[in-house]
C-alpha cells in the first residue's frame, strides 16, 4: 500500500507534558472501515486528533493520503472528522452551522446551501435542521457532528465514538452508512467501545492499550496471532461424543466441551488449520454427519479480551 493511499503513522509518540498519549505507533491503514478499539485512556482520541492535525506529534510523522496535517487547505478538503466534543457555536441552527462551515471551506452560498441540505438529509435531520442546536437532544447533536464531517464529501472520514447517544435505529443506519462508505473505497476510521458493532462493520482493527498498539490487522489475522489463547471452534454433528474422542487424539486440541444436548462441541485448539484437517479425517473415517462449524472467538470482543483484558466499558 503506497503512502498516497493510506493513513500512515511513522513511529509517532505524543506526550502531554509527562503524561503519555501514545507511544511509538507505526501503522498503515488501508481504505475501508478501520475500527479503533481500546479502553478509556488507551490513546484512541489522541490517535484520531493526530490523524486530523488538531494536535501534533511529539515524535514521528503522520501522513494521510500522502498529505501532512500541517497543510490544512488540501488536508481539510479530503478529511472529515466527527469529534466527541459536544459543543456548537451559540445561537446557531443546524443548517446555519453547516452552511457557515461550508462557506468557510470555500463554497459559495448556493453550493453551501445544497451541501448542507444533503448532509442533513444523509443523517436524517432535514426536518429539524432549522431548529436551534441548543434545543437538540444528545443523539441529534451527534448526528449534526456526523453531518458536518460528511458535508464536504471527504475521502477520509474519522469518527470518534460516533454511535454515542444514538437510538438503536440511528445506530443501525449509521453503521450501514459507514459500511457503505468503506465499500466505496473511502477510509473510515471509527473509534468505539461497542465491540460487537465494530466487529460487524470493520475490515481492519487497531487495538490500543495504555498508549501502545497491541495488535493491528484484519480481525481473523489478529486472532490467529494470539497463540497463548487457543482458538475456540463450535461444531455441531449427530454424534458429538464420537467426534470428541477422535479429535482428542491430537495434541493441538487442548480441550473439548460437550454440549448438554449431545449434538455440539466447543473445541479449543492451538492450530486451527491442523484442526480443520483433523476434523475432515475424523468425520470421514467415522461417517459422521456434520451440521455446522463456526469459530467461537474469532471476533473483536474475544481478541480485545485476550489482549487487553476485560473492561467494563467494552460490551
Amino acid at each position: 500500500m503506497t503512502a498516497e493511499r493510506a493513513i500512515v503513522f511513522d513511529n509517532v509518540s505524543k506526550f502531554y507534558g509527562e503524561v503519555l498519549g501514545i507511544n511509538r505507533v507505526t501503522l498503515s491503514l488501508p481504505p475501508g472501515v478501520t475500527g479503533l478499539v481500546g479502553p478509556n485512556g488507551s490513546g484512541k482520541t489522541t490517535l484520531l486528533n493526530l490523524m486530523t492535525g488538531l494536535i501534533r506529534p511529539s515524535r514521528g510523522q503522520v501522513s494521510v493520503l500522502g498529505m501532512s496535517p500541517n497543510d490544512p487547505e488540501a488536508f481539510g478538503q479530503r478529511v472529515g472528522y466527527c469529534t466527541q466534543v459536544d459543543a456548537f457555536p451559540n445561537g446557531a441552527t443546524a443548517r446555519s452551522f453547516l452552511q457557515g462551515w461550508l462557506r468557510l471551506s470555500g463554497l459559495d452560498r448556493a453550493e453551501a446551501d445544497r451541501a448542507a441540505a444533503e448532509a442533513l438529509e444523509r443523517v436524517g435531520m432535514s426536518e429539524a435542521g432549522d431548529r436551534k442546536l441548543a434545543g437538540y437532544s444528545k443523539g441529534m447533536r451527534q448526528r449534526i457532528r456526523l453531518a458536518l464531517a460528511l458535508s464536504h464529501r471527504p475521502e477520509v472520514l474519522v469518527l470518534d465514538e460516533p454511535l454515542n447517544g444514538l437510538d438503536p435505529m440511528a445506530r443501525a443506519e449509521s453503521l450501514a452508512l459507514f459500511q457503505g462508505l468503506g465499500r466505496e473505497g473511502l477510509h473510515v476510521v471509527v473509534s468505539s467501545h461497542i465491540l460487537h458493532e465494530v466487529d460487524r462493520i470493520c475490515d481492519h482493527v487497531v487495538l490500543l492499550s495504555h498508549g501502545y498498539v497491541v495488535a493491528e490487522g484484519q480481525i481473523h489475522g489478529v486472532r490467529g496471532e494470539v497463540t497463548e489463547h487457543p482458538m475456540q471452534i463450535f461444531v455441531r454433528c449427530d454424534e458429538a461424543h464420537r467426534l470428541a474422542a477422535g479429535l482428542l487424539s491430537e495434541t493441538h486440541v487442548v480441550e473439548v466441551k460437550l454440549h448438554p444436548d449431545g449434538k455440539g462441541l466447543l473445541v479449543r485448539t492451538r492450530d486451527a488449520s491442523a484442526f480443520h484437517r483433523l476434523l475432515n479425517r475424523v468425520v470421514l473415517e467415522a461417517g459422521l454427519d456434520l451440521e455446522a462449524l463456526a469459530p467461537a472467538d474469532d471476533d473483536v470482543g474475544a481478541v480485545y479480551q485476550y489482549l487487553i483484558g476485560s473492561d467494563t466499558e467494552a460490551v
Binding site: 478538503q77 457555536p89 451559540n90 475521502e155 473511502l186
Partner: protein
C-alpha cells in the same frame, strides 16, 4: 462518492482565501454583535457621550478652550487608556481563546483554511468591531461636546474642529489595531490572559517614565504625538500625558502599523503551533 475537492470548480488560491477570510469576518462580526458582551463594549464606548450629554443639558456656560481640553482629556485619558484598552481586551482575547473556552475552535481548524487566514480575518473582524464602536462613541462625544453652543458650532464648521475629530478617530483606530494585535497574540500565549493584560496596562501607564528604547514597545508611545490637544497637566502626572521626545506624526502612524504587523505576524506563527486540547483549557 467522490471528493468535492475533485469536482468543485477551483476558484484559484487567492480568491478562495479572500472568500474564506470574508466568511470568517462575517461569522466573527455576527458573534461580536450578537453576544451579551457587546453591551459592555457599547457601554465603554458611549459612557462619556452620556455624561457629556447630561452636562450639555444642564450647563450652558461653556467656553471653547475649556470644552476642547475636556474632550482632549476624555480621549487621551479615558478612551485610549481605559475604554479602548479594556474593550480590545474583551474582543481580541475572545477571538481564539474564547473559541477554545467554548470548545468550538476545532471546527475552524478542521476546515480547509490556513490558520493564518483565520487569525488575520479574526483580527480584522475585531478591528472592525472596535473601530466602529469606539469611533461612533468618539463621534458622539465630539458632537455632544460642541453642538450645544455657538462657539462650538464655529469651531467645528469653520475652525480646526474637524481636524481634531479626524485626529481623535485616527488615534482610536490605531489604538484598536495596536492593542488588538497585542491582546490577540497574548491570548495565543497564555491560557488566562488577565495577568498579562494587567502587566500591559501597567507598562502603558509607566511608559512616560521609561527610556526611549523601551517606550517604543508600547502603543501609547506612538499615539501621544497624534493628539491635537496638549493637556495642561503639570508635575509628575505630566509624565503620563506630555510627549518628552515627540515623534513626527507620520512616523508615529507608520511605527504603530509596523508594530501591529509584527505582533500579528507573531500571532500567525503562534497559531500554526496551537493544539486543540480542551481538557487542559
Amino acid at each position: 462518492m467522490t471528493s468535492d475537492a475533485a469536482v468543485r470548480a477551483d476558484p484559484g488560491l487567492w480568491p478562495l482565501r479572500r472568500r474564506q477570510a470574508w466568511q470568517t469576518i462575517r461569522m466573527e462580526l455576527l458573534r461580536n454583535f450578537s453576544a451579551w458582551s457587546s453591551l459592555r463594549l457599547l457601554f465603554l464606548a458611549f459612557a462619556p457621550a452620556f455624561i457629556i450629554a447630561a452636562h450639555a443639558m444642564k450647563d450652558r456656560r461653556c467656553t471653547l478652550p475649556e470644552e476642547t481640553v475636556i474632550l482632549g482629556g476624555i480621549i487621551q485619558l479615558y478612551y485610549v487608556r481605559f475604554g479602548v484598552f479594556f474593550g480590545c481586551l474583551a474582543i481580541f482575547v475572545r477571538l481564539v481563546r474564547g473559541e477554545l473556552a467554548e470548545r468550538t475552535l476545532h471546527y475552524l481548524f478542521l476546515a480547509p483554511v490556513r490558520r493564518e487566514v483565520l487569525v488575520v480575518s479574526k483580527f480584522l473582524a475585531g478591528a472592525l468591531t472596535t473601530v466602529t464602536v469606539f469611533g461612533a462613541g468618539i463621534l458622539a462625544s465630539f458632537a455632544l461636546m460642541y453642538v450645544h453652543f455657538d462657539a462650538g458650532h464655529d469651531f467645528v464648521l469653520h475652525g480646526p474642529g474637524l481636524a481634531h475629530l479626524r485626529a481623535y478617530l485616527l488615534v482610536a483606530a490605531l489604538a484598536c489595531l495596536g492593542y488588538g494585535a497585542v491582546f490577540l497574540a497574548m491570548s495565543l500565549l497564555f491560557k488566562n490572559p488577565t495577568v498579562p493584560a494587567v502587566v500591559v496596562l501597567f507598562w502603558e501607564v509607566i511608559n512616560g517614565v521609561l527610556p526611549v528604547w523601551l517606550k517604543r514597545l508600547s502603543v501609547t508611545y506612538y499615539l501621544k504625538p497624534l493628539f491635537p490637544v496638549e493637556l495642561p497637566i503639570q508635575g509628575i502626572l505630566g509624565l503620563f500625558t506630555v510627549v518628552a521626545e515627540p515623534t513626527p506624526p507620520w512616523l508615529a502612524v507608520t511605527g504603530l502599523l509596523v508594530f501591529t504587523a509584527l505582533v500579528l505576524a507573531f500571532a500567525c506563527w503562534r497559531v500554526r503551533r496551537l493544539e486543540v486540547l480542551y481538557s487542559s483549557d
